[in-house]
Symmetry: C2
Subunit: 363 residues, 2 copies
């Protein structure tokens, strides 16, 4: 009798549908310590609460300053198909750093400082060890970014995600004093463009990266000497996205009166042309000189094996510059010096010119 | 020569990897109006910006009040495998409401009012029409919740999501004045429990729901009269999650001096027992009388066709009560009256008793 329901006589339970509540509870226990490590005095501890709570102002001297006109700044992002590479290689503890980086690097562009972070993790089947490794990466990223991991959601969705697959999205909230928020209308012709190096591909363009790997028959577990003397291709590709938060937040605090930084950009999907233009008024262009910086070998490697045209590379990848500041020329040296003290390697990569329509030329 | 890379001679482009940048741009254009409809005077308009900006305080009389000790409250959630049902039925414009509901209903439990929302949408292939329908649901949910949709991310991930599949996660941020935050340690024996009706299954337990549908051979496109006179099973199951924000926020504003609401709970995964206990101190129990409310027919329908035991139903589904308030007994009538004026149908469903360990008994 093929039409007979298969469960005849047997009561269904939630566990029958593939959702393992116990695994979820195990993981919650394992990640609580990881979350606590990211908490500062702003976080209000509420075990079992429905939401995460973070103090903004405080009446006592606990914080350096209170806000007069606080503006909340919020971002969300994922890491694209970098998750696919992570699960393929069984390396789970770094995509969380990428996820934090993608969100907080967007946030600091507005002049804000990150306060808190939440993650959404969706998996095929919850392995508490794997889930905890992923959240450990998120917590590591939060510590690098100086923000508190105050909540998250782990969803077990066996019918949406294939075996071994997962996805992660992050959400960051920060604050900026309204009159210190970056205002791109202040960018002027003559301003200089300072770039901060990326650590590699970061977290954009991984569908193309994976296409190159498969179509050129590359081996993720092999060491290609043209790429790196010790790391495998997979390791090079999984290098976590750099987090620019501490350097940028501290730099902006240095200039409390003068507004020397007129614009910033986080170089994500769309590359330098697609992101620097977001920091420009319509009547100004940016001219960048790519001979000023050394592109990490991973980009030449991908370009060669994918036979990708240079213009396409520039429009998809960061090509070695992960973050850009637009600065008044008379303060360029001062900003470069501060950034160097903050352990960055700032490079003067171009300038702002009068022009057409917010175009970015990379020469 | 099977070992020869298949792309020999042909340069790869980003589009070759299955990512359609144009579809993304089309969708961004389509959703901008939807987002604007949710914006109030707090939102700072920054087209093309890297992050969403929302004013918290303001120097003028634009807002009813400024905060003395503002505490930020943040939540994240998805809608589980309700997304699978939505894509199966081709109904895309309501899961966004569910996504907002799951987040903001958690947030108001802390006494907070929602300010802003961001969504993360991941798809196999971006169909701008489908993507826009999903975000329309998110925007509708934000309007119902009284919060601004200030950002989001749409990720096209052909290798993680199967054809037609997608996932959605939401992030909500709100604010509560510290001394008005709900403090569950204030719950006392003798407090009464008021329930607000759910609209049905809401957004939990859908892996089990779908398992029942498949194993009992149910037809999602059929009208089952025991369930509803007109709606199909699929329509009944996709009914959006109720959003309790406006009623709860307004209710709490009514009592500016006395703290008549001692605890609240959003009834999600774990049902009444698993969520009401989160609002209880360890030495108190809640006793709920299920004869006080009428469970929507969908629960009896699912229980029958899945041959599910009553205890399992209670631990997975809300059984008709989507939100719970714990209230001082002398204010029960006043709270019920206010909630009725706010177009809710509050039901007295139980009370708090001295007891073991934060247990919830449903009798």
């Amino acid at each position: 009798m093929p039409s007979k329901p298969s469960n005849a006589g047997k009561p269904l339970t939630y566990a029958d549908s593939g959702v393992d509540i116990e695994a979820g509870d195990t993981m919650v226990g394992m990640i609580q310590g990881l979350m606590r490590r990211t908490h500062g005095p702003r976080v209000i501890d509420r075990p079992g609460g429905f939401a995460g709570l973070v103090r903004l102002d405080y009446n006592e001297k606990l914080f350096r300053r209170n806000y007069k006109e606080p503006v909340l700044v919020a971002c969300t992002d994922g890491v694209g198909t970098k998750v696919k590479l992570a699960s393929q290689l069984g390396v789970y503890d770094t995509v969380g750093i990428d996820c934090v980086a993608m969100c907080v690097n967007d946030m600091i562009v507005e002049g804000a400082e990150p306060l808190m972070f939440l993650d959404y993790l969706a998996v095929n089947r919850l392995d508490p060890q794997v889930g905890t490794a992923i959240v450990k990466g998120v917590a590591d990223g939060c510590r690098l970014a100086g923000c508190a991991l105050i909540g998250g959601e782990t969803a077990e969705m066996p019918d949406v995600y294939s075996e071994g697959d997962f996805d992660i999205a992050g959400f960051a909230v920060g604050v900026v004093e309204l009159d210190r928020a970056i205002d791109t209308s202040r960018v002027e012709a003559g301003d200089v463009v300072i770039g901060l190096p990326s650590s590699g591909v970061h977290s954009n363009g991984f569908s193309l990266v994976r296409k190159i790997v498969s179509s050129a028959g590359l081996d993720l577990n092999k060491v290609y000497t043209e790429l790196d003397a010790q790391q495998t291709l997979g390791e090079v590709l999984l290098t976590p996205t750099r987090i620019y938060t501490r350097a940028i937040v501290r730099l902006l605090r240095r200039y409390t009166v003068k507004k020397v930084v007129s614009g910033m950009a986080h170089i994500t999907g769309g590359g330098l042309p697609g992101n620097v233009c977001r920091a420009l008024p319509n009547d100004l262009d940016a001219v960048l000189d790519s001979s000023k910086w050394t592109s990490p070998p991973v980009f030449a490697f991908l370009q060669k094996h994918g036979r990708i045209e240079r213009g396409e590379m520039l429009n998809v990848f960061n090509m070695g510059i992960g973050y850009v500041l637009i600065v008044r020329p008379s303060f360029a040296n001062s900003v470069m010096k501060h950034l160097t003290r903050l352990r960055e390697d700032p490079i003067l990569i171009g300038e702002i010119v009068k022009g057409g329509s917010g175009v970015v030329r990379v020469e």
